[in-house]
Every structure is written in structure tokens, then in C-alpha cells.
Amino acid sequence: MIIDDYNVFVMIILISLIIILIQLWFESKKRPRAVEMETKTLVKCPKCGYSEEREFQPGDFVSAIKGKCPKCGSPIKVHAIYAIELKTGSREKLKTPHKPL
């Protein structure tokens, strides 16, 4: 085969097509990283200020009384419920650590 300008031109077009197809295939496979979150319940004693971060349990809500303060014995309240990001770097889908109703 003689390598002239025309052949080089056709080869470039073919190689470019192959590169574009490979790139499109990789693009279609790419998925955004799912961030795994965990829900926490922050309980706080209104009297002595004792606070503790616990796992969220179904039935928890802000203002609910959740047991007694281990320091002063007065009732402790749910101060906040929030989700924190787990630093696992996992590509798994978002999961809830608790069961639905």
C-alpha cells in the first residue's frame, strides 16, 4: 500500500471516528458518584446542656422527650435530626439505615 496524502486523510478520519465512538461509550457509562448519608439524632438536656449524637430511630422527632439525662436525671429532648455524609467514597446508591413504617 502506498502511503500518500489521500490515504493519510482517510486514516485520520477513520481514527477520529473510532476515538469519538469510544469517548461516547465511556460518557454513557459514566455515573455521578452517589453520596452516602446517615441520619443522626442529636439529643440535648435542657437543664445541664448534656448532648449526645445517636442513630436516628423511627419515631424520633424534634421536641420529643427521649429518656433521662445521664448527668442530672431530667428529661432529655431531641434537639435536632440531620444527615451527615459518610466518608466512605463508595459508589453505592443512597441507603437508609432504618426500615420504613
Partner: protein, 364 residues
């Protein structure tokens, strides 16, 4: 060299190129590719609809409903017709009437099926059904435009739809993932307003408490001022009727209110940080109209300054379990409100603070 294989390939490419250019075949191929892409994304949306539907069915069966399918189907295809806007007289009143009717129909249907279920649990089921309904609606709309585009070879329609698909997919995933939060009663980002309201209730000395239209009004004494804190009644999934309640409180006090502050979650622009607090004037409330206008009318009738605070977040943040950044913003927001109150009112003043948003997981 004549007859070389690259010559043939080159010729074929050029012939194909011109055939496609002059017959419009390239557009047809492009259209097929777009339709294929939309179809694959649509199947993902369908999966979200089916999964959330089957989970709702499971929950209803666990709660004792023998035939949950008719109820879910009814919710899924439920529609609301907007009032006539060509004649604007009383449009807010008409819109409010339609929205109230819709709410009542939803609640009554669920109460008939689950008469023994508590108000809180029922509201969570109701919101889950609404999520299924929204997902199904999005699915139907996308499918409609895909089929119309294919039927009439409307490549412009398919192109627009294909370009919008990532955004639509993001929206459906947001709703789908919010399902867990509602079914478990976890506070969501949109609950920032009610949580700020609860913080103020907690800090003050409660004088009285009453519930009007699923909305709580707590009268407290804080920093030598009389504070009326308004929020939706929690901890169920509920937004209440804060506008009408604020109007009622102002009228009961004969307009003797020195300041009205509304706190709400607001959608952030791309590039803004989640949990940023911004201050402004007006009524910070994202309802279709009736609640917002009620606050504006009452405040303007009596010349009461209307201040607003918003906690910025994305749509995902607003519908998913409340992120820690938003919780921290809530704490800062409560301090911010107290600073505004101290700076703009004198001791002995009467102030109304309304925490706007869905109060799921936040009591009072």
C-alpha cells in the same frame, strides 16, 4: 494506486455523506439516537414510579388496607384545575377554595381507608402518595412528548426533550429519594423555617399555645418582647396555613404588631453555598398565592414592616433529610432573628415570627 481499499472507503464515506445531507437521513439517524436515549431514561423514571408505588402499597397493606391499588390509582391520576385567570376578580379566593377542596378530598379519602391511623402517620402516607403522583405525572408527560415526537417525526421536539432529560431525571431522583425521609418522618431541608420557629419557642417563656388550620401559634415572652411564633403543626408532614393564621393574629391584635418576620428555605443559585442565610423584605413563602397575599394584605393594611430571612439550599437539599449544614444555618438564623428584633423594635413590642415550610419531624 487505483483500486486501493482506502480509495473505496473514502468514496463510500463521501457518497454516504452526500446522500445523508440531501435526503435528511442524518437527521433521522440523530432522531433515532435521541429517541433511544430518552427511552432509556424514561425506563429509569418508570422504575422509580413502580418502586415508590409498590412501597406505598406495602405500607398500606401493613397498616391494614386490604385493597391499596384503587386508592393509589386514584391519587396518581388526581388533577387540579386552575381557576380562570382571564377574569382576575377574586382569583385568590377561587384558587384558595380549589386548593382547600383538593386538600380535603385527599384527607377524607385517606381517613375513610385508615380511620384509626393517627394524624401524624396519616400525613406521612399522604405525602408518600403525593410523591408517587408527581413521579407518575412526570413519567406521563415525558412519554407523551417522546411519542408525539416520534409520531410526527418532530426532531426539534425530541432534541429539546433529550437536552432536558438530565434535569428531568435529577428532579425525579430528588422526589424518589425524598420518599424515605417522609415515610420515616425525618426532618427535611425545607423544614428549616419550622425548626427556626421551634428554636425561638424553646428560648422564650411560653404564655399560650393554640392550633388554627393545622398551624400552631405560640405566644412567648422573649427578650422583653411579646413574640407570636407561627409554624405548621408537627411532627407530621404538613405546611399549615401560615398566611391566613398571621392575618388572623394581626386582626385579633387590631394591627398592634410592630414587626412580622418570615423565615423560609429558598432555592440557591448554582455556585451559592448550602446553608447561606440572606435577609430581605417581603413575605418569604413559596405557596401558589393565597398564603403569601394574606400576609402582604395584613401587613400593608396596618403598615407593619415585613422582613424576610431565607436559608439557601438546592431542591435536593430541600426535599432530602436535613443536612448538617442546614441545621447549623438554622441555629445561626435563630440568632439573626433575635438580632433583627433587638435592633428594630423596643422592649414591650409585639412581633410575629413565622417559620414557613414542611414541618415533618419537627414538633412544637
Amino acid at each position: 494506486m487505483p483500486g486501493d481499499w482506502t480509495d473505496y472507503i473514502g468514496q463510500i464515506i463521501f457518497i454516504l455523506f452526500f446522500i445523508m445531507l440531501f435526503t435528511g437521513l442524518n437527521q433521522r439517524i440523530q432522531m433515532k439516537l435521541w429517541a433511544y436515549d430518552i427511552r432509556s431514561k424514561l425506563s429509569l423514571i418508570k422504575r422509580h414510579v413502580d418502586e415508590s408505588r409498590s412501597r406505598t402499597e406495602e405500607i398500606l397493606v401493613k397498616l391494614g388496607v386490604k385493597e391499596p391499588s384503587p386508592l393509589i390509582s386514584k391519587y396518581m391520576d388526581f388533577f387540579t384545575i386552575e381557576p380562570v385567570s382571564l377574569e382576575p376578580t377574586d382569583i385568590i379566593k377561587r384558587l384558595d377554595h380549589i386548593l382547600t377542596t383538593r386538600e380535603r378530598v385527599f384527607k377524607d379519602s385517606l381517613a375513610q381507608v385508615l380511620p384509626d391511623l393517627g394524624k401524624h402517620e396519616r400525613s406521612l402516607i399522604e405525602t408518600s402518595l403525593e410523591i408517587v403522583s408527581v413521579l407518575n405525572y412526570i413519567y406521563k408527560i415525558v412519554r407523551h412528548y417522546l411519542l408525539i415526537g416520534e409520531k410526527y417525526n418532530n426532531w426539534v421536539l425530541l432534541m429539546q426533550l433529550q437536552f432536558q432529560m438530565p434535569e428531568i431525571l435529577r428532579l425525579t431522583e430528588t422526589y424518589y429519594k425524598s420518599f424515605n425521609a417522609f415515610i420515616n418522618g425525618v426532618p427535611i431541608g425545607d423544614g428549616a423555617g419550622p425548626l427556626v420557629a421551634y428554636r425561638l419557642i424553646e428560648r422564650g417563656r411560653v404564655l399560650s399555645k393554640k392550633v388554627i388550620d393545622d398551624t400552631v401559634v405560640v405566644e412567648t415572652w422573649l427578650d422583653d418582647r411579646r413574640l407570636f411564633v407561627v409554624k405548621a403543626e408537627g411532627p407530621g408532614s404538613n405546611v399549615g396555613k401560615p398566611g391566613k393564621v398571621i392575618q388572623k393574629v394581626i386582626e385579633e391584635l387590631n394591627g398592634n404588631v410592630d414587626l412580622v418576620i418570615t423565615v423560609d428555605a429558598a432555592l440557591k443559585l448554582e455556585g451559592e453555598e448550602t446553608g447561606e442565610i440572606a435577609e430581605g423584605v417581603g413575605a418569604a413563602i413559596g405557596d401558589p398565592g393565597p398564603e403569601k397575599i394574606a400576609i402582604e394584605r395584613a401587613a400593608s393594611t396596618y403598615g407593619i414592616p415585613l422582613r424576610a430571612l431565607v436559608v439557601k439550599m438546592s431542591l435536593e437539599d430541600a426535599l432530602h433529610p436535613m443536612k448538617k449544614q442546614i441545621y447549623e444555618a438554622v441555629e445561626r438564623c435563630a440568632d439573626y432573628i433575635l438580632r433583627i428584633i433587638k435592633d428594630s423594635t423596643k422592649p414591650g413590642s409585639t412581633i410575629i415570627v413565622a417559620g414557613i415550610g414542611n414541618t415533618v419531624g419537627v414538633g412544637q
